[in-house]
Symmetry: C2
Subunit: 234 residues, 2 copies
């Protein structure tokens, strides 16, 4: 391609479906719609935008995938609230992601759990503390913890998952669940390298105690220490 034709083509080529998707998004953003409002019919959109119905359907399919619209058979398409994590739920898999993304996600977990402290202290309930204690007690009583890494990590997941749930932030909590396969994979890889799982000095009982009697700053410090083996990966 010579420089003349290069100048004639300003943007990287976008398919019509992508263009229509963006137009629909701008349309929705600009007109402050409410949830439940109706979208024009596919045929009308196609006619108005001067494209085929196929193209419109591809664009709408993407909006549907994000949870931005729902389509009913005769009613047409109605606007819904998009799902923040709809994309992530599909691709959060070790076999789909590269090293850099996995490392980013790994780090994100560490950041979240340390930074989450204030949410926990604002929203903790007595019943939550009790549940944490139950988990920690079951963990302490389970002799399989000595032998099996799987068993250990089962309690680890349960305990920390409960913390995310306690945060009262459902996006955060859902994100943690998506994050698990990545984390497990990276731990498994680490295990094959003969790196001892090296437990931190702060255990779950210590964390519970801090959550019950301490401050958010103290909890952050202890959580940071609890996660020290993982921080070694930075």
């Amino acid at each position: 391609m010579n420089f003349l034709t290069a100048n004639l083509i300003p943007k990287k080529h976008q398919s019509l479906a992508e263009q229509v998707e963006q137009k629909l998004l701008s349309y929705l953003k600009a007109n402050n719609f409410n949830i439940g409002d109706q979208l024009p019919k596919e045929i009308e959109l196609a006619a108005h935008l001067g494209v085929s119905r196929n193209v419109v359907r591809e664009a709408l399919s993407r909006l549907r995938m994000m949870g931005m619209v729902e389509s009913k058979k005769r009613k047409g398409m109605v606007i819904t609230e998009p799902d923040l994590l709809s994309g992530l739920t599909r691709i959060m898999d070790p076999s789909l992601l590269g090293k850099e993304n996995m490392q980013d996600i790994f780090e994100l977990r560490l950041v979240l759990e340390v930074g989450m402290a204030d949410l926990l202290f604002v929203r903790k309930k007595d019943t939550d503390i009790q549940e944490l204690k139950d988990i920690a007690n079951r963990e302490a009583a389970d002799e399989n913890c000595q032998n099996s890494q799987d068993v250990r990590s089962k309690y680890e997941v349960e305990f920390h998952g409960k913390l995310y749930a306690m945060s009262g932030n459902s996006t955060l909590s859902r994100f943690q669940k998506l994050l698990l396969p990545i984390f497990n994979y990276m731990e498994a890889v680490e295990a094959t390298l003969d790196k001892a799982p090296a437990k931190g000095k702060i255990n779950h009982f210590d964390l519970i105690d801090t959550l019950e009697n301490g401050t958010a700053a103290q909890f952050r410090k202890r959580m940071r220490e609890h996660l020290t083996p993982h921080y070694a990966r930075l």
Copy 2:
């Protein structure tokens, strides 16, 4: 939801395009492909799955949207590394999200900035510190800061954006940029309610000093104090 209940609960009707999307995703997850590998042609997929090419194209369009595949005109579709934030880039807009999602995102920012400390201390460079100082100095010298909330928030964004960039976590940094419109919107709403923007006791110079001479734990504490006005919203 475990494997069993997943089968027991009758799924809400899924369109063929959605089913094909999932089949393609499972196919990609199961077969550990490498980036650059080719996917079968649309017609072959359609024939193999027993659906029309339209349906296959809708599914592929979704994968393309997530950055999982790229399509070249004659070459066919090749596997690429998915973009973790491709979904978010489209929907991170105050006019598309509801209160709960916005609140979740708002909280997430607070969690991230407090929890980010260790990343910063591992990866900070002298040049980064210098850049932070430059920003803080420009801010201190700008007399418009007194009058205009916009000017203040401009420096705020620049300073904190630099911190995210320093984290060395590009996903985190990109997420912060997406988060900005939400944050601005919520601050604007707060401003209309006559709530004074109430600056925290810890300013940017304090943060820089801690970053230069202190510890990660100290930085977390000070960042938490710096963000105190925002934490009031919890």
